[in-house]
Symmetry: C6
Subunit: 268 residues, 6 copies
Amino acid sequence: DFIHALENDVKPAFGTSNEAIERFYSTGIMTWGQPLQDLLDDGNLFIQQAKDGEIQRGLVSILLEGSPNAGKTALAAKLALESDFPFVKLCSPEDMVGFTETAKCMQIRKVFDDAYKSTQSCILIDDVEGLLEYGDIGARYSNVVLQALRVLLKKEPPPGKKLLILCTTSRRDVLEQMKLCASFTTVLHVPNLTKPEHLTTVLLNLSENGNSCFTRDEISRISKNISSKRLSVGIKKLLAFIDWTRQMDPKARSSKFLAKLEEEMALL
Amino acid sequence: DFIHALENDVKPAFGTSNEAIERFYSTGIMTWGQPLQDLLDDGNLFIQQAKDGEIQRGLVSILLEGSPNAGKTALAAKLALESDFPFVKLCSPEDMVGFTETAKCMQIRKVFDDAYKSTQSCILIDDVEGLLEYGDIGARYSNVVLQALRVLLKKEPPPGKKLLILCTTSRRDVLEQMKLCASFTTVLHVPNLTKPEHLTTVLLNLSENGNSCFTRDEISRISKNISSKRLSVGIKKLLAFIDWTRQMDPKARSSKFLAKLEEEMALL
Amino acid sequence: DFIHALENDVKPAFGTSNEAIERFYSTGIMTWGQPLQDLLDDGNLFIQQAKDGEIQRGLVSILLEGSPNAGKTALAAKLALESDFPFVKLCSPEDMVGFTETAKCMQIRKVFDDAYKSTQSCILIDDVEGLLEYGDIGARYSNVVLQALRVLLKKEPPPGKKLLILCTTSRRDVLEQMKLCASFTTVLHVPNLTKPEHLTTVLLNLSENGNSCFTRDEISRISKNISSKRLSVGIKKLLAFIDWTRQMDPKARSSKFLAKLEEEMALL
Amino acid sequence: DFIHALENDVKPAFGTSNEAIERFYSTGIMTWGQPLQDLLDDGNLFIQQAKDGEIQRGLVSILLEGSPNAGKTALAAKLALESDFPFVKLCSPEDMVGFTETAKCMQIRKVFDDAYKSTQSCILIDDVEGLLEYGDIGARYSNVVLQALRVLLKKEPPPGKKLLILCTTSRRDVLEQMKLCASFTTVLHVPNLTKPEHLTTVLLNLSENGNSCFTRDEISRISKNISSKRLSVGIKKLLAFIDWTRQMDPKARSSKFLAKLEEEMALL
Amino acid sequence: DFIHALENDVKPAFGTSNEAIERFYSTGIMTWGQPLQDLLDDGNLFIQQAKDGEIQRGLVSILLEGSPNAGKTALAAKLALESDFPFVKLCSPEDMVGFTETAKCMQIRKVFDDAYKSTQSCILIDDVEGLLEYGDIGARYSNVVLQALRVLLKKEPPPGKKLLILCTTSRRDVLEQMKLCASFTTVLHVPNLTKPEHLTTVLLNLSENGNSCFTRDEISRISKNISSKRLSVGIKKLLAFIDWTRQMDPKARSSKFLAKLEEEMALL
Amino acid sequence: DFIHALENDVKPAFGTSNEAIERFYSTGIMTWGQPLQDLLDDGNLFIQQAKDGEIQRGLVSILLEGSPNAGKTALAAKLALESDFPFVKLCSPEDMVGFTETAKCMQIRKVFDDAYKSTQSCILIDDVEGLLEYGDIGARYSNVVLQALRVLLKKEPPPGKKLLILCTTSRRDVLEQMKLCASFTTVLHVPNLTKPEHLTTVLLNLSENGNSCFTRDEISRISKNISSKRLSVGIKKLLAFIDWTRQMDPKARSSKFLAKLEEEMALL
Ligand SMILES: Nc1ncnc2c1ncn2[C@@H]1O[C@H](COP(=O)(O)OP(=O)(O)OP(=O)(O)O)[C@@H](O)[C@H]1O
Ligand SMILES: Nc1ncnc2c1ncn2[C@@H]1O[C@H](COP(=O)(O)OP(=O)(O)OP(=O)(O)O)[C@@H](O)[C@H]1O
Ligand SMILES: Nc1ncnc2c1ncn2[C@@H]1O[C@H](COP(=O)(O)OP(=O)(O)OP(=O)(O)O)[C@@H](O)[C@H]1O
Ligand SMILES: Nc1ncnc2c1ncn2[C@@H]1O[C@H](COP(=O)(O)OP(=O)(O)OP(=O)(O)O)[C@@H](O)[C@H]1O
Ligand SMILES: Nc1ncnc2c1ncn2[C@@H]1O[C@H](COP(=O)(O)OP(=O)(O)OP(=O)(O)O)[C@@H](O)[C@H]1O
Ligand SMILES: Nc1ncnc2c1ncn2[C@@H]1O[C@H](COP(=O)(O)OP(=O)(O)OP(=O)(O)O)[C@@H](O)[C@H]1O
Ligand SMILES: [Mg+2]
Ligand SMILES: [Mg+2]
Ligand SMILES: [Mg+2]
Ligand SMILES: [Mg+2]
Ligand SMILES: [Mg+2]
Ligand SMILES: [Mg+2]
């Protein structure tokens, strides 16, 4: 029956260790510019508030939203682990492939029930639209999961307990329509790289660490080339493009790199 | 089978003590202005009527509606507990995360069935749109729960018994469309703070109790600043903003507080 | 299996005694004016016809439709009990909260199957749109129940048996769309109070019986006040307003009563 | 499992004797005019064809369509019984209240499977739109039943066997949309009474048999009254109006009868 | 469980012998004109190709599409049996009345799995839109069956095996919308009779065989009569009309026959 | 229960050997022109990248999209097998006919779970829109499968492991609407034959290998004939046309071949 299923059916198999969460930014977080720094400062301020023992309310919930490949998951993982909360728990659609919506819901509920037992807990909910099973054609989604999140994102932990919730999404538009954004304490934007110097910082940084294929000359040529264009690219995509150019003939690679940026609409 | 499930499957685990209900306003109810006072007076008048032994009809049902964060739940909890009804029962989506709509329905029904057994009962139904599982995209909802509420909100308790029902919602529009508002004895509006003096009252009150971070000087500066603007903010949001400014450098905090109010569209 | 479920699963727990039906008009039926009298006369004529042994057809079905609070249920109950049919059976959504549509359907079917066994039976189906689980958003309803009603409202009882069906609804519009109105022998309108003298009759009547709070002076003042306005109020709502004014200061009550009527759109 | 269910789950409880079918026209079939006579002639011609042993095709299917109360079921029953087919089987939603669509489908299939075993069979399917569970709001229906009918109405009986199918509907429009009309050998229209003489024939006929309440004088007055108006009324409705006037004061009854005809839109 | 059900639940009860398929054209195939002859030639050419051992691809699939009553099923059956493929299997909604969509799907799958085991197989899928459970109102269909057909119509048999698939449909429009037509090797049109000489050929042929009721004189009168009109009638409908005229008075029958053709929109 | 089902219910019956994958291009891959060569070069470059041990990210996913019959499956199979990845796994709707969406989802998940265990794996997902059960009428699809693919196509394999994913689709438009294209590392277009020389290359190649029926003369006549027309035909369709002409009279075949190309809209 129902209560029984709730307590027994969802195995602890889904427990997540801090190492699992660390893996989300195993290639590191590069501080490529001011917008990123501002985001990290804001995030940390809210985390501080979540731990402040003098404040009676025990709940702080943060939505990290940005375009695909912006680095949302890596940043959320970093903030979660650096919060120094003793209990960090992950909720990700990656770990629930093929679950029914009820099973997903139970899993989410279990994570929260566990968190309510600790004095200080942090929950990382990655890819909220994935959890909600949002499908663009026909605007399908799991109302069961939506209703659970809607309530759990606002529910105070028991008296004296502290709860920090970090969520990521690349579909702020969808969450707005679901009126879910209003359930968060704050919504923070994860920025794309938009200025030539952001790009140069990344390329130089990699080159210094011996990871990138571009020489300093190539980097300044690339930099000059894009100086008059509008740029918008996510860090994950950018790093993937750089990986890709490693397979190429050194002569062609910088122009192919620029062409790829244009093809992907990252340069306009 | 059906009858059996009804009686046995839903465990008394969901019983709510008065302490649980008190927690909804554990940080207190601040009387920040006349609109709030009027609401409390009205509410109490209806509660008096619900207890009046000379009236034959045994049912009074009140819908408290207001924008998110207006303080609806806290006020409903306060009215319920101060009604001095010996039996106060809570129905909240917070306690039914992951329930099927049938389980929700059975739970609601059980609360009413229990209430019918007492001479004087009070039922607090928090977040009606949450119970109804209303999802904005595609206007989804649980028709099973709607039909149950539709009937139970109008059903007279057995002869000689008294029943007070207190509901809260931030989606009056949705309940109107469902023609559910008409099922209540009365609909009361929970107001936002809309005048500078409402805000000042709150800030001074906190400062006097040593809870707030703003000095009297800052308070009068804030007050002057907003005197010409239109304000509309819920008490819960306001208290959260104040908490947030506590983490900040005293120099910046009053202007950051005002900026935050504007960002959240609370000031226009 | 199916047949078994049909015969065994629905317990006689739902049997209704005449006292249960009487309770629907335990506060009495006040004859406040001619429209009401006409309705009662018409209703009684049809009941007479339903009992007429010389007519071969054994079925008379009546739909009582009117706005919410018009007194539909009370009048249907009164007609049913005064019909002097030995077997009166109630079908009401109030007794089926949380039932699946199949269970509702089986319950309805059982009531009819039982009725077919008596020589003279009367079935009272209260709140037809509730039985049909009509939800305005998305126009949802139980097609299973609709199909059952559609057939049972037209099905002749066995040869020599008489069946009187009394239904109530406040959603004639919905039943028309479902083409269900055409299945009744006749549709009777339950009127609201629409003339000043209707209202005065009620107030005087209550005052004479020592139940109301208004003095004869107040009554004539109220009467004068509304003489030029258009009135439309259901008897249940009106009696509730009067109850409500009992909690008030005698000086304010008559004007508050009129204000409430206006607020509820009953006066235009 | 499936096959098993098909063969065992649907009990022979639904067998129909000829007496059951006779009851559909137990009050008799009155020949009120030429349109009705034409229909009966046509119907009989098709039945003759269905029995003609020299024709190789073994299937004749007839759809009797007309407005509600036109007398469709009574006429179909009469044609079925007078066909002198040894095996007559009834399929009616009246006998399947509360069945799932699968159970309905199985029941229909069983009727056909039985029919295929006899040399000459007749199947009467009453109220096809009821079997299809057609609900006007949202145009709902049982596609499972539709697909079954679509196939069974066209399927030839085994070699050497004869099958006559008689169906009734008051929703030809719906069946057309479902492209189901094209599956019948022929579609016959069951007419309403449309001329004054049709009405007079019925009234005189009843009066001669001592069943009606109207005198010959009243009848000629009624006849004169409607001579210039357009009439369209089904025989069942007409007989019900006449029954109804029996409860009245003889002076008022003929004008009340005419008023009722107008109220029901039967006279324009 | 799933795999088990697949292998055990669908009984060989659905096996079809060649006699069953022969029955589809037991009344014979009359060659009434050139369009029909062209179709048969085309069909035979494709069948030859399906058997050609020098071609490596092992799959030929043909869709026979035409209006209702055009003779599609009879022609498909004839082509299938005359193909001389040792294994001919029938898939028809007639044999699956009341099946769930999953059961239908399993049945179809089983037919193909069996076919893959023979060196040369022919599968006849009659009435594809029936298998797909297409319902016009609301454009309902079984996506489960669609997906199965979509894949199976394109799947190559195992190396060295040959598979000929013959399908019939009267809803080419629907299959186009489902993008299913593109899955066939070829789509062949089954023509209606459209010229006076087509009709005359049929009537003379029947008359010669002593099956028809029309004399040579009547036939030439009919022929003259329609010479200036546009004709379009399916062979099955035409044969049914002729059967029908057999019940009539010889004097009236030729004009009634023409009238019926017009009524059915076959003559314009 | 869930976990159990996941691990035990999906049998290894679906394992695919390399021979099974080879069969997709058993008739060979003909290099008919530069567009095809470019595609193969691009594909191989990405495969190289997927194996590059110096790159930390372990995932490369490629979508091969093109019109029906373009040769997508054959090319994907060839790339997969020539990648020299020790573990190549196939996911195809052909092997899942009649599976529930949950079973499909579990099957897909199992393939990925297996792949994560090998150091280097390649997964071939054929006919993605088939897996998604896309039905054009009503735009139906399996959201369960969509959500699984959405996550699995982006999920990194465990640290140190490499995963290459090759998908094919002929409905890029649908995948774009589902925002699934953005989940791939790259999207490669599988071209149709569009220039006369592409066609000539194929015909000559077959003629040299003694497989085709056209003589060199016929080939040059065909080539001349289409030189001024726009051509667009998939290799699979083209090879099928050529097979078809083998059944014909040599005189007619080249013009019939051209006519067929036009009929199929391949020549404009
Ligand atoms: N400044 C940075 N911010 C975020 N990620 C960074 C940064 N610098 C390097 N990275 C690396 O970039 C990658 C970001 O990928 P991540 O999965 O977080 O993106 P995402 O926005 O969540 O993508 P998706 O939209 O697919 O969910 C990680 O591998 C991370 O280690
Ligand atoms: N005058 C007041 N009215 C209501 N709440 C007050 C008041 N003064 C202080 N509070 C505090 O403000 C908070 C109001 O939060 P509450 O949950 O009731 O808001 P809500 O309108 O129900 O929010 P939501 O829309 O999220 O349901 C409580 O913590 C309560 O103690
Ligand atoms: N003339 C009257 N007609 C009907 N009810 C009356 C009359 N006079 C007094 N009453 C009282 O008014 C009340 C009518 O309530 P009732 O439940 O019948 O209304 P209703 O129209 O069914 O309401 P709803 O729309 O909520 O179903 C009853 O308590 C009844 O005793
Ligand atoms: N000429 C007639 N044709 C049909 N019915 C007649 C005729 N004369 C008398 N009757 C009587 O009229 C009644 C016709 O009712 P019947 O149920 O057949 O109508 P119906 O069209 O099927 O109604 P519904 O639309 O409700 O299904 C029967 O009681 C029948 O005995
Ligand atoms: N030339 C012909 N082509 C087809 N059928 C013919 C021909 N001549 C005679 N017939 C007879 O006509 C009938 C055709 O009926 P058939 O069921 O094949 O039509 P259909 O197009 O499949 O109809 P439906 O649209 O109902 O499926 C068969 O009885 C067949 O024996
Ligand atoms: N250059 C080529 N590219 C692809 N296939 C080729 C080529 N040359 C010959 N072939 C053959 O053409 C056929 C291509 O068929 P394939 O099933 O791959 O097409 P497809 O695009 O996947 O079709 P569908 O749209 O039906 O899925 C195979 O039999 C293959 O052996
Ligand atoms: Mg992410
Ligand atoms: Mg609240
Ligand atoms: Mg009522
Ligand atoms: Mg009928
Ligand atoms: Mg056919
Ligand atoms: Mg393919």
